[in-house]
């Protein structure tokens, strides 16, 4: 059974069809690439899975459970985490706090303990802090752990967002253009990271990316969207040679740099 199974997802914005009848699936420990020209609906699809948008039609099964109709935090708690195309970080606080906030939902004492700082609340904080420290250590963010996120470089901010997503111990990660704005060297590292996430943690990944080298080297399968419709699906080799894909990309000449 697939981990994530989308069938017939449709969504439009004030008449504009952003997604129409999109179906595909992501298997356990699989890396699936999602590509397509600008405005194809890739981010919209990710927003549907993480439930920031609610699809008008279709179903999204995760581990066999229907996601449509649940709240965003519920979906996150089920094990789906994401990064954002334009970064959504807690900018005013430290890297450490960002990561803690990614896992804090698992460490809840009662509200009364929180008000009165009872031992249970303190214990929860200790555990969360320990786990945060472990993540910081593992991802090599020690040097910047106590720096405010807004003071970091763009690249580092992207890593923090990835670290925060990882803190949620996801089964599925949705990455929206993790290599955007990076040089080839940095992009290669992103591709490595993505593969490591899968190899070391067994996380399935839905990867939206414009950089073809990253997509081709990291993904097991690729889904191609154009104008909200799925126009192709297959292995990287198949996609590379698909006439439909070549046509979609040649039709738009501005965004596969």
């Amino acid at each position: 059974m697939a981990l994530l199974e989308l069938s017939g997802i449709s969504l439009s914005f004030s008449g504009l069809r952003a997604l129409s009848d999109v179906s595909f699936s992501v298997a356990e420990s699989q890396i699936v690439g999602l590509i397509g020209p600008n405005g194809a609906g890739k981010s919209t699809l990710i927003n549907c899975v993480s439930h920031l948008y609610r699809p008008e039609r279709g179903s999204i099964l995760f581990n066999g459970q229907e996601l449509v109709g649940r709240s965003t935090p519920e979906v996150a708690a089920m094990g789906i985490r994401r990064t954002f195309q334009n970064l959504e970080l807690f900018r005013e606080v430290s890297v450490r706090e960002n990561i803690t906030l990614g896992l804090v939902y698992r460490y809840r004492a009662g509200i009364l303990s929180d008000f009165l700082n009872l031992p249970s609340a303190r214990a929860m904080r200790r555990e969360a802090n320990a786990e945060t420290a472990a993540i910081i250590e593992r991802l090599g963010l020690n040097d910047v752990a106590d720096v405010r996120v807004c003071e970091l470089s763009y690249g580092l901010q992207k890593s923090v967002e990835m670290a925060r997503a990882l803190a949620g111990r996801p089964k599925l990660m949705l990455l929206d253009e993790p290599a955007a704005g990076m040089n080839p060297e940095e992009s290669r590292r992103v591709a490595d990271t993505v593969r490591r996430l899968r190899d070391e943690n067994g996380i399935s990944i839905l990867l939206v990316e414009h950089d073809m080298r990253v997509v081709m080297s990291a993904c097991d399968r690729i889904v191609v969207l154009d104008h909200g419709e799925k126009i192709a699906e297959g292995t990287p080799a198949e996609i590379r040679n698909s006439p439909a894909v070549i046509k979609a990309y040649l039709g738009e000449d501005d965004d596969h740099a």
């Binding site: 954002f84 807690f90 606080v93 906030l101 804090v104 809840r108 929180d114 929860m124 904080r125």
Partner: protein, 315 residues
């Protein structure tokens, strides 16, 4: 002793020493400082941590005041029970006001809280059999362990103790996972929700807690004043609370305390300006958001950072 603890110790010592050498009026003013500072704490939680604005806190204040007055006079229960009842009643209404906040943000919410406060005021006015309506309601002096406190001197210390208790609770909350989740929602609701932090639950907690604090303050105020009438709980009161909290500093307990001093002392200082007084408050509020958005407490922070210390405003 770590510097932060030392600062708190010194502040408490100064607060405890303040009434000496003052007269009855001075005690009364100091008592009001504490009562306003409690409202400041409540806005510290709601606006500072939660990013939810309210221009209707006089409504919660009124609910606390009337609830306590009624519990003490009509049901004959002790003063402290009345105060707790005031907090609980206001807190429940706070949770109720949060319901529209679940679906909307910012501006709409401010409008809803404004409407809420007007509604409460109108209700209290119309519901004469219970609240005394136009005539108002007499409230007995506070009493502890069966003895009535005739002087505001003693009452001030009760208020100081309650303020410190509430400040401690607010501080714990700011450090706690629930409080930090609330702040996460303020910084980016989208990101927080994608981290598994539900907005509805936290917004309700923020509103209920904030309203509880304000209700307690209102109850304590009722017993200080001795007589309640609905005019006390007008829009002007809500706006004063908001100004005080902003001018003191929305992001820390110290800011709330400074706000309390501001609201209690400014009328004394500005008395000779008569009708222009309120205009000056407005101007001060605008100047504050323009030039000192962190409030008066941020001056303290600037000094501290010169000394190489962590700002008080951060949890």
């Amino acid at each position: 002793m770590p510097p932060r603890k030392l600062v708190i110790f010194l502040v408490v010592a100064v607060l405890a020493a303040l009434p000496f050498g003052l007269g009855n009026y001075g005690y009364y003013i100091l008592a009001s400082v504490m009562i306003y500072a409690m409202v400041g704490l409540s806005l510290n939680i709601l606006i500072g941590m939660g990013g939810q604005i309210s221009i209707g806190h006089a409504g919660f204040w009124a609910l606390g005041a009337y609830a306590s007055a009624i519990v003490v006079t009509k049901a004959g229960l002790p003063f402290l029970v009345g105060v707790l009842a005031g907090g609980v009643v206001a807190g429940l209404f706070g949770a109720l006001v949060a319901l529209p906040a679940l679906r909307v943000q910012g501006h709409y919410l401010a409008i809803a809280t404004l409407g809420f406060a007007l509604f409460v005021q109108q209700m209290l006015f119309e519901w004469e059999s219970f609240t005394g309506g136009r005539q108002g309601l007499f409230v007995p002096r506070p009493s502890l362990f069966g003895t009535e406190m005739q002087s505001d001197f003693g009452y001030y210390y009760v208020l100081l103790a309650i303020f410190l208790l509430l400040a401690w609770i607010a501080h714990n909350f700011a450090k706690s996972h629930t409080g930090r989740s609330l702040m996460a929602l303020r910084m980016s609701a989208v990101a927080a929700e994608c981290c598994g932090i539900p907005r509805p639950k936290h917004v309700i907690i923020a509103f209920a807690t904030s309203a509880f604090f304000t209700g307690v303050s209102g109850a304590l105020f009722a017993h200080l004043l001795g007589h309640l009438s609905t005019e006390t709980f007008s829009l002007a009161a809500s706006l004063s609370f908001l100004s005080m909290a902003v001018i003191g500093g929305l992001h820390s307990r110290g800011g709330a305390l400074l706000g309390g001093f501001y609201l209690a002392l400014a009328p004394e200082v500005l008395r000779e300006f008569k009708d222009a007084q309120m205009v000056i408050y407005g101007v001060l509020l605008i100047l504050c958001v323009q030039f000192l958005p962190g409030g008066l407490i941020s001056i303290v922070d600037v000094v501290r950072s010169r000394l190489g210390r962590k700002p008080l405003g951060t949890p």
